[in-house]
């Protein structure tokens, strides 16, 4: 792996003046994560490790049917099981029996209807999880099975079963721009289908709810946004926010799958009923039913172009299966529509993107959020166009890629770097892997130690992809974060304490907050205290937004603290405040000369500031034309995949998966590269193997035996080129990092497999039978 930083840009703020003993671990330096060693040695406390001496265990009884009416629930037999302390049903939900991220349409516990296989129907608390499970098996639910809508392509038909009373449409995004009836000399089109991917975070859903003396409840839970959880829990419990307090427990990955509630309300209900702390922790199989997945998609794309490949128009029809409840489907449709043509210039555009209800598992947020699905279609079609006009895949993208100052398909001016052409050139210039060895090690061949080929039938293919993604919440959402920063002397040393409610889910945000505080306050010791709801909302750990938004809040709070401290210092050292700075735990002058110790200036006092920080506002799009400044920032990445395909057996070995990505400013370069590696692997997983297979509303592979994730023998070496073109509108110029690699890696892998086997492959995950045409 190589990491290059070809472009350096000046930070948007003035750095503290250089001194002989600078504060280390600032932004831009590789910083070690506080959780890193604990995680690799198995000592990190995940939410599933939560423990309370008096606790009981909660389990969930789930519907076996994708669609049914509940005639009656009889819990009497379950209650007689020794060790059981509570059995709850919909009747026991004290507040509103509804929750949801965008629309509160999902029951805490199913009342009259169940709308998907796995929907929670009842809860049991018992002194042992096995006791609770056995008791749950003795709850008698009388179901009247109803016709299920399981083909989303039928959802909007007149005779389709209605999943909800208001009809099956969650959102239709209509976007029109330019010529309403465009024509072009070259026209290419395709249909593409994307299967349902799972976030497959390694730490299943879990939490511990502890009833409090004030009648409220304290919930420790692995999640992505404490405050949006709190709002929904309060609604269901019928309690005010000061009675429902959340603290982030150790999160083992999220990728969007923890945006919706899972154990949250259930654990609180059981804790309040039993008066005991209640732990709930899903196993892997239950986890597949316990969170939303990535929307499967059915897409029809048509591009018109000039004979030289210059795009004239794009026409898109996209259908996303939202499953049984709304979750974040509307926002995913928003992305699939407004970003659905990729980072290219289109004079004329027509997009219709639909999200629908079905009786399939609910789908919602997952890393890449609507852009992942669309990218498969627009990138496959760009390759078709390249072939049709006789240019290579890099050139067709370079020629049509947006540049800074261009308008995208919603008419929004892209007002910071848009290095589409440069990313492609850089990734294309990276060294290619050597050709297959004469007598290769089995592990380097498709099928690996399965010993399926010694080179027979193996062909190499190369594929390219470039994509872009919005960072932060869009379409007018009030997207902000809150940070509280305190500077005080502890044990003779100045210590900065940073407090936010931002969820560290494994991406490295704790380290980023430390680096920002060290940079802004010039102190070595920075403590990031656990995220909880005693400080204001940080917004969601999603949409690649936390380094940008919570990073912005921490930076702003640090600046406020610094201003107060320097005013104090100016008085103490008898100098004007203008020339003073903080560095190396000292107050320094304009030349870096040490004027006073920071600890001496602070004395016994603490300086504390809390700041709510917002990025530039975004705007709703026009309902008829889809035009508007919907997004605050765009992040671009390009991938090149090299694969060896056993064309007779359809097995694939990814040989190389290289990236070029613009991150604006790499706060923690090591962590940035790690995010790109992980995102690339996750994108590759969807291209080749990751699919929740759903038949007639039933999940057929709810385990890691048959939901396959890439292993170390599947993930290739990766070269990563990190570009740093600062976004002048973002703190330090940062650009979201987490999602782009997940979007562009998969389409590059798919393109490489197509190049190797010569088949169109219009569905992912690509299965061996598709490659072989059997």
């Amino acid at each position: 792996m190589t990491t290059t930083e070809p472009t350096t840009t000046e930070p948007t703020t003035t750095e503290p003046t250089r001194t002989g003993a600078r504060t280390g671990g600032r932004i831009g330096e590789d910083a070690q994560r506080p959780d890193g060693t604990l995680k690799v040695t198995g000592e990190f406390a995940y939410s599933s490790d939560l423990w309370h001496d008096d606790m009981v265990w909660g389990v969930t009884l789930r519907s076996p049917h994708p669609s049914a009416r509940i005639r009656r629930v009889d819990v009497s037999e379950a209650l007689t099981v020794p060790g059981v302390s509570a059995v709850l049903t919909a009747d026991d939900v004290p507040g509103e029996n509804a929750y949801g991220l965008e629309h509160a349409d999902q029951p805490v516990l199913a009342g009259e209807f169940v709308r998907y296989e796995g929907e929670p129907v009842a809860l049991v608390a018992a002194d042992h999880p096995e006791t609770a499970r056995r008791a749950a098996a003795r709850i008698r639910v009388d179901y009247e099975v109803l016709p299920a809508l399981t083909d989303p392509r039928r959802a909007l038909d007149d005779d389709a079963p209605q999943v909800h009373p208001g009809g099956n449409l969650v959102r239709h995004l209509r976007l029109r721009r330019g010529d309403p009836a465009p024509t072009a000399p070259v026209v290419v089109s395709l249909d593409f289908e994307v299967g349902m991917q799972d976030q497959a975070f390694l730490g299943p859903e879990s939490g511990l709810a502890v009833p409090a003396e004030d009648g409220g409840v304290d919930l420790y839970v692995a999640t992505q946004w404490l405050h949006v959880d709190q709002r929904q829990i309060c609604l269901a419990l019928g309690m005010p926010p000061d009675k429902v307090r959340l603290t982030l427990a150790g999160v083992g990955g999220a990728f969007g799958g923890r945006e919706d509630l899972s154990v949250h309300v259930h654990a609180c209900l059981l804790a309040l009923r039993t008066g005991r702390p209640v732990k709930m922790s899903y196993g892997r199989e239950e986890s597949f039913y316990g969170h939303v997945h990535r929307h499967p998609a059915w897409m029809t794309y048509e591009f018109g172009a000039e004979p030289d490949g210059t795009l004239v128009y794009g026409k898109v029809h996209t259908l996303l299966d939202g499953g049984a409840y709304a979750s974040s489907t509307a926002a995913v449709v928003g992305n699939a529509g407004t970003l659905g043509l990729g980072p290219y210039r289109f004079p004329s555009v027509s997009v219709d993107a639909y999200g629908v209800f079905t009786n399939n598992p609910p789908c919602g947020a997952m890393r890449g959020f609507g852009c992942v699905q669309a990218a498969y279609a627009h990138e496959a079609l760009m390759d078709e166009l390249a072939a049709a006009v006789g240019v290579d895949p890099v050139e067709i993208r370079r020629r049509n890629g947006v540049q800074e100052g261009d308008r995208n398909i919603t008419g929004q001016v892209i007002d910071s770097a848009a290095p589409v052409a440069e990313l492609l050139e850089r990734v294309a210039a990276l060294p290619l892997p050597p050709p297959p060895a004469e007598r290769p090690d089995l592990r380097d061949l498709p099928g690996a130690v399965g010993n399926t080929t010694h080179g027979e039938g193996v062909r190499r293919g190369v594929g390219y992809s470039v994509t872009y993604k919005n960072v932060g919440f869009s379409e007018g959402f009030d997207d902000y974060s809150t940070a509280r920063v305190r500077l005080q002397v502890t044990g003779g040393e100045a210590v900065a304490t940073v407090h936010t409610a931002a969820a560290e889910v494994g991406q490295g945000l704790v380290t980023v907050q430390q680096q920002i505080a060290r940079t802004e306050l010039g102190v070595q010791q920075v403590v990031v205290v656990p995220a909880d709801t005693t400080v204001g909302s940080a917004g969601s750990t999603s949409a690649s937004r936390q380094t940008h938004v919570t990073g912005g809040a921490v930076k702003a709070a640090c600046e406020a603290v610094r201003t107060a401290v320097l005013q104090r210092a100016a008085v103490a050292v008898g100098r004007p405040v203008a020339g003073l700075a903080l560095d190396g735990d000292k107050v320094v002058g304009p030349g870096g000369e040490v004027l006073a110790g920071l600890a001496d200036v602070l004395g016994e006092d603490a300086v504390e500031e809390t700041v709510e920080w917002r990025h530039r506002p975004t705007h709703a799009i026009d309902p008829e034309t889809g035009q508007g400044d919907a997004h605050v920032q765009f992040a671009f990445s390009a991938h090149r995949a090299v694969v060896d395909v056993d064309t007779e057996l359809g097995l694939v070995k990814v040989v190389a998966l290289d990236t070029a990505q613009d991150v604006g400013k790499a706060i923690n370069p090591d962590a940035v590269v790690g995010q790109i590696h992980g995102g690339s692997a996750q994108g590759m997983g969807l291209a080749l193997m990751e699919e929740v297979v759903v038949t007639d509303g039933h999940v057929r592979n709810p385990s890691f035996t048959d939901y396959l994730l890439p292993t170390i023998l599947d993930v290739p070496p990766m070269q990563v080129e990190v570009l740093e073109y600062a976004d002048p509108h973002a703190p330090y110029g940062v650009r979201g990092v987490g999602e782009p690699p997940t979007i562009s890696s998969g389409p590059a892998v798919a393109a490489a497999v197509r190049a190797a086997c010569g088949r169109p492959l219009r569905r992912v995950p690509i299965r061996p039978e598709h490659v072989t045409g059997i």
């Binding site: 690996a448 130690v449 010694h454 048959d706 599947d714 299965r767 059997i774």
Partner: protein, 287 residues
């Protein structure tokens, strides 16, 4: 649930005789999955890991390896790669390193899954399963007769698997397994081949493509008859292909979440063709 933990083979057989409802457990790589998913709630577990006789292997004067039922895949790879190359190749494809340290060939036979990786090479090598009971002593079952249905085997309720007897390879062996990722995968289809130049015979084993692991007898007879065992010229492409088609014809695969019946049949034809070519080339080189 009772936990029985005999420390000798006689005690194990006695416990088995007494408790037909006890589920034998060795490495636990199948049993614990069943328990954790609550698919099985046996009245008792019969832990065989403390029975020293099961973890040994030895070679009889005729060269047949007696492989104790408790020998792990990891040990098969490390200790028996020369004598039982087909089985060692299959062992190498089982799960992850951790699973290969725990999992045993005897356990694979006990589970009798159509996808068990050890089964095809045992079929191709004409292995025999040694089973025993306290009441009737020991008997040997040809491995092809051991599998009686999906996840069912020929064990009587009071019997345990003692060992499997596998002839030392007299010629080249191959094992090939298709999965939809490059490690830690349950087979979509699998094929084992053993050439027996001493008796001018061919052995085959098919996995994951029928209710039980099975041989492809017609294909075996066909190839053995067509091969020029004396002069050993290069294997004609047409012959390899015809052999592959006969192997595929011996399967009765189904569509499931891991693959389609049509692909399974197709892949078996490819695997058999390639395996026959590799094995024959090995034999030519050895001459």
């Amino acid at each position: 649930m009772d936990f029985l933990q005999p420390s000798s083979w006689d005690d194990a057989l006695a416990a088995r005789a007494e408790r037909h409802d006890a589920l034998p457990i060795a490495g636990g790589t199948d049993v614990m999955v069943e328990l954790n998913f609550d698919r099985r709630r046996p009245a008792a577990l019969l832990d065989l890991t403390r029975v020293p006789e099961l973890s040994e292997w030895s070679v009889a004067p005729d060269g047949t390896v007696r492989l104790g039922a408790g020998v792990s895949y990891g040990r098969v790879i490390a200790e028996l790669g020369d004598r039982l190359p087909g089985l060692a190749m299959a062992a190498r494809t089982v799960g992850s390193p951790q699973i290969r340290v725990r999992g045993t060939v005897g356990g694979n036979l006990g589970s009798a899954s159509p996808a068990g990786d050890a089964h095809p090479p045992l079929l191709a090598a004409r292995a025999e399963v040694e089973v025993a009971s306290a009441a009737r002593g020991t008997r040997r079952v040809p491995v092809a007769e051991f599998f009686t249905g999906v996840k069912r085997n020929a064990l009587a309720p009071d019997e345990l698997i003692a060992a499997v007897h596998v002839p030392t390879a007299a010629g080249p062996q191959q094992f090939c397994k298709v999965g939809t990722r490059n490690a830690m995968v349950i087979s979509v289809s699998a094929f084992a081949l053993a050439l027996h130049p001493d008796r001018r015979a061919v052995g085959t084993g098919i996995g994951s493509a029928a209710p039980t692991p099975r041989r492809a007898p017609d294909a075996e007879e066909f190839l053995a008859g067509e091969l020029d065992w004396d002069r050993r010229p290069a294997l004609p492409e047409g012959l390899a292909r015809a052999f592959g088609e006969r192997v595929a014809a011996a399967a009765s695969p189904i569509d499931d979440v891991r693959g389609t019946a049509a692909y399974r049949r197709h892949s078996l034809a490819v695997l058999a063709r390639r395996a026959a070519t590799w094995a024959w080339d090995d034999l030519r080189r050895a001459a």
